[in-house]
């Protein structure tokens, strides 16, 4: 594992140790966030699946009714019947915060509350099957919108999970080992310096002792010589 290119100083080591502590704490938090996101994601996805099945069933029913209606009406008359809608819908968009992800919340409001206000055509030249098709579509609108909301939420959560997962992995497999390695390197470097210092001191001590010894020998020698001079017989 590569280590960081830093000066092996005690100050650097302290700084790195602090960073390691932060990284470990961040890692734990992000891991918790990832797990919670995952839990929520799975919940939404399960709900999504049910909703999608429901919407697809309703849409295929509406489509079948449209097919039957278009079989007995000319395409121009079918389109004419639907060209000017009677009911209109206002869509409100707000957001909700799930684990710091801002997911959309759709709310819609019909212009008219009368559920029978969705048929914008007369009855003489239109097929009854068209009523069923329009009704099926209008009943699906709420579910379709909920599906859109839940699918977008799932998508955004998935992106967030992916991002968090990458961060957790980066912390776990790159950042933390790198810091540990670097701290270890600095520690070893410092210890080595310490050892070098000790041996140097020992050497100096040896040298100093030797010097002292030599000095003592020299002094002894000189003292001896002086003594011998004093006791030389007088001629």
């Amino acid at each position: 594992m590569a280590r960081l290119n830093v000066n092996p100083t005690r100050m650097e080591q302290t700084r790195l140790k602090r960073r390691l502590a932060t990284a470990k704490r961040g890692h734990k938090l992000l891991k918790d966030k990832r797990d919670e996101l995952m839990r929520q994601f799975l919940e939404i996805v399960r709900h999504n699946l049910q909703l999608r099945k429901k919407v697809e069933g309703a849409l295929s029913k509406a489509h079948r009714s449209f097919t039957i209606a278009s079989a007995v009406m000319s395409p121009e008359m079918l389109e004419e019947a639907l060209m000017y809608p009677k009911q209109s819908v206002a869509l409100e968009l707000s957001t909700k915060n799930i684990m710091s992800v801002n997911v959309p919340v759709y709310q819609f409001k019909m212009k008219s509350d009368d559920p029978a206000e969705i048929f914008p055509y007369g009855f003489a030249t239109t097929s009854g099957e068209l009523d069923d098709a329009v009704l099926a579509l209008s009943q699906t609108l709420q579910d379709m919108l909920e599906l859109a909301q839940s699918e977008k939420t799932a998508q955004m959560l998935a992106q967030e999970i992916e991002k968090t997962r990458r961060r957790v992995n980066a912390l776990e497999y790159v950042m933390i080992p790198q810091l540990v390695e670097t701290i270890k390197y600095i520690r070893m470097k410092l210890e080595e310096n310490e050892r070098g210092n000790t041996s140097r001191l020992m050497k100096v001590k040896d040298m100093m002792l030797e010097e002292q010894r030599q000095k003592n020998i020299r002094q002894d020698q000189e003292a001896y010589e002086a003594h011998c001079l004093n006791f030389e017989p007088k001629q």
């Binding site: 079948r64 097919t67 039957i68 278009s70 079989a71 007995v72 000319s74 395409p75 121009e76 008359m77 389109e79 004419e80 019947a81 060209m83 000017y84 809608p85 009677k86 559920p115 029978a116 048929f119 914008p120 055509y121 007369g122 009855f123 003489a124 030249t125 097929s127 009854g128 099957e129 009523d131 069923d132």
Partner: protein, 334 residues
């Protein structure tokens, strides 16, 4: 006036000619074979074998093109044969009103909806556009002109496209009745009356199913039928519908309507029953040796045939099972 001078015998050649054409109409057997054919191409080939022009590609647009040309050919033929040239007009009125609906709605939405116009009515689309743009309705009859003004007014006040359709539908049937009267043809008049009754039955059932109030029903019901409108107003239960139509030729259709209201049958079953009653009425023309009836019957038969072909081809394109297609096929004229 022309109607006093035209006799049954004036239709001798026309009737004979049309009767010889009748045998070219698609029978139910052929339509069933088309819906059971292995591929769509095979189904189209069967059409070709019955004297239909070749359909360039197996798409709905190509089929619609052929349907439109078949329709205009049949109308042109009847118009050329009929002593009174207004004879096919009863069947063309609906296109005028369709075009009017498109034009009036596009006036409000501001969208160009020319693609939805069907140039098959008594007035060409261009004529109608100019009349609406210039507000000059002198070429139209009173029903049409009045309905346009009323529809514009109602649309401006309520922005409700359904009311516009209801106004124009009423005017359309009034026009048809007037035309039948002008032609002095009892058979045609009775056909229009039966049509009004069937539309009233269908819209009563549909409005009831939608849960609409009495007001809308009163507004929507079309006057001029055999069944008095007042009998359908009020708390219409499935039993009442059956009772009201009990003596009418539409009794079977009313039964289907009652079932649809009870949720035992679909609305398309009601449509189907109504169309079958109308076609069975028209079929009586097949036993009239000469007169206007065979011509009228033929025109209605051609329209029914076009719908049947559209049903089969749409069904095939949508991948419906053959039995689903055949159960939606109407009675055929031949």
């Amino acid at each position: 006036m022309a109607k006093h001078t035209i006799k049954d015998t004036d239709y001798l050649y026309a009737s004979a000619r049309i009767k010889s054409m009748e045998k070219n109409l698609l029978s139910r057997d052929k339509l069933e074979r088309m819906s059971e054919a292995k591929t769509l191409e095979d189904a189209l080939k069967l059409l070709g074998e019955s004297g239909w022009p070749e359909i360039a590609s197996p798409t709905m647009a190509a089929v619609e093109e052929v349907l439109a040309s078949r329709r205009s050919e049949a109308f042109a033929l009847v118009r050329s044969l009929a002593p009174d040239k207004r004879l096919p007009d009863v069947f063309l009125i609906k296109y005028d009103y369709h075009n009017l609906k498109v034009l009036l709605k596009s006036e409000v939405t501001g969208e160009n909806a020319d693609a939805l116009l069907i140039d098959a009515g008594r007035f060409s689309c261009r004529q109608l556009k100019t009349m609406l743009a210039e507000d000059s309705f002198s070429a139209m009859n009173k029903n049409m002109a009045q309905s346009i003004e009323e529809a514009r007014d109602v649309l401006a006040r309520t922005q409700d496209p359904q009311l516009l359709d209801l106004i124009l539908d009423k005017a359309m049937f009034a026009d048809m009745l007037e035309m039948a009267d002008a032609l002095g043809l009892r058979y045609l008049r009775n056909y229009v009356i039966l049509m009004i009754d069937s539309v009233n039955l269908r819209l009563t059932v549909r409005l009831r199913r939608m849960g609409k109030g009495l007001e809308v029903l009163r507004y929507a019901l079309i006057p001029g039928g055999d069944i008095a409108i007042s009998r359908l107003l009020g708390d219409v239960t499935p039993d009442i519908i059956e009772n009201v139509y009990h003596t009418s030729p539409l009794a079977a259709a009313a039964q289907a309507g009652a079932q649809a209201l009870r949720g035992e049958a679909s609305l398309s079953a009601v449509d189907l029953a109504c169309d079958d009653v109308l076609l069975n009425y028209l079929k009586s023309a097949r036993y009239i040796a000469f007169g206007a009836e065979p011509l009228i019957g033929y025109l209605a038969a051609v329209e029914a045939e076009l719908t049947a072909v559209r049903t089969v081809i749409t069904g095939r394109l949508a991948g419906l099972a053959p039995e689903m297609i055949t159960e939606r096929l109407r009675e055929t004229y031949v």
